[in-house]
């Protein structure tokens, strides 16, 4: 019973702060609301008994990615944005296409058979042990390839943030 209340509360927080993310004028507030969304999604993972993912989600998203966002916003000093001037036609088109996508997706979601999301499913999937066994047995190759992806991303980020990129290219 308590977990159901927790589900609705977390869902409300997630949707509310998601909306607040896209409508707040100040990018710093957007980042903070997005962190709130991520925390409520981590709470959903806890409710589903996927504890390892919940911990990793908080560490990676709230701890690393959003700090990177905040750091860039502070470095670019974007606190005082000028009011965004999108033409009304584009705004209407954005509302129409996002609403259409929402309708289509919810139509697709409706046709799914009603099944319980069982936190204690037969194999207790989601604890560190099960995930570790799956990751290092069946998914060993993708796991190792992820390191190459990170190396490429690191080299790309370092190269892009070189100061005199323009002079060397021109």
């Amino acid at each position: 019973m308590l977990t159901e209340y927790a589900f609705w509360l977390l869902s409300f927080i997630a949707v509310f702060s998601g909306i607040a993310t896209i409508i707040s004028k100040n990018p710093v507030y957007s980042v903070l609301y997005l962190i709130l969304t991520f925390f409520s999604i981590a709470g959903h993972y806890f409710l589903m008994n996927a504890q390892f993912l919940a911990a990793v989600h908080i560490i990676v998203y709230a701890g690393a990615i959003m700090v990177l966002f905040l750091y860039v916003i502070m470095m670019l000093n974007l606190n005082d944005l000028e009011i965004e001037k999108r033409s009304n036609i584009l705004k209407m088109l954005a509302v129409a296409s996002a609403g259409l996508l929402l309708v289509i997706l919810s139509g697709a979601a409706h046709s799914v058979d009603a099944m319980h999301v069982n936190a204690n499913n037969v194999t207790p999937a989601g604890l560190v042990e099960d995930l570790g066994i799956a990751l290092y047995r069946h998914y060993l190759l993708p796991f190792e390839l992820a390191s190459i992806l990170f190396l490429a991303a690191m080299v790309g980020a370092v190269y892009l943030s070189k100061k005199n990129l323009n002079e060397t290219q021109a």
Partner: protein, 105 residues
């Protein structure tokens, strides 16, 4: 952790669809490249939530492994994307996507 008695896969899918829709709307509606980038993260998280719910529904770890790799790709994407944003700001002194019109004929 007790079983979620009255919570079906529909509920998680509805939440996931709502978050994904918010993300799409944000990308289409806002002009600030950083906010658009954050909305992409929101969409990735909506998909992650659906994947974990399906993984729990079937009692299979594979969905959660997918979520793990999505997180990996998202982290790499943020590192490169924010570097691109820094370059953009250094050259144009704005992160407004409407100012990126050099290829316009």
């Amino acid at each position: 952790m007790e079983i979620l008695h009255n919570i079906y896969i529909h509920h998680y899918l509805a939440l996931s669809v709502a978050l994904f829709g918010i993300g799409v709307f944000g990308v289409l509606f806002r002009k600030n490249a950083i906010i658009m980038f954050m909305c992409v993260e929101l969409m990735l998280n909506a998909v992650n939530l659906a994947l974990v719910a399906f993984s729990k529904m079937h009692g299979d770890t594979d969905g959660q492994i997918f979520v793990f790799f999505i997180m990996v790709v998202a982290a790499a994407e943020v590192a490169v994307g924010l570097a691109i944003l820094m370059m953009l700001y250094r050259n144009l002194h704005t992160t407004d996507t409407d100012s990126l019109n050099e290829l316009k004929g």
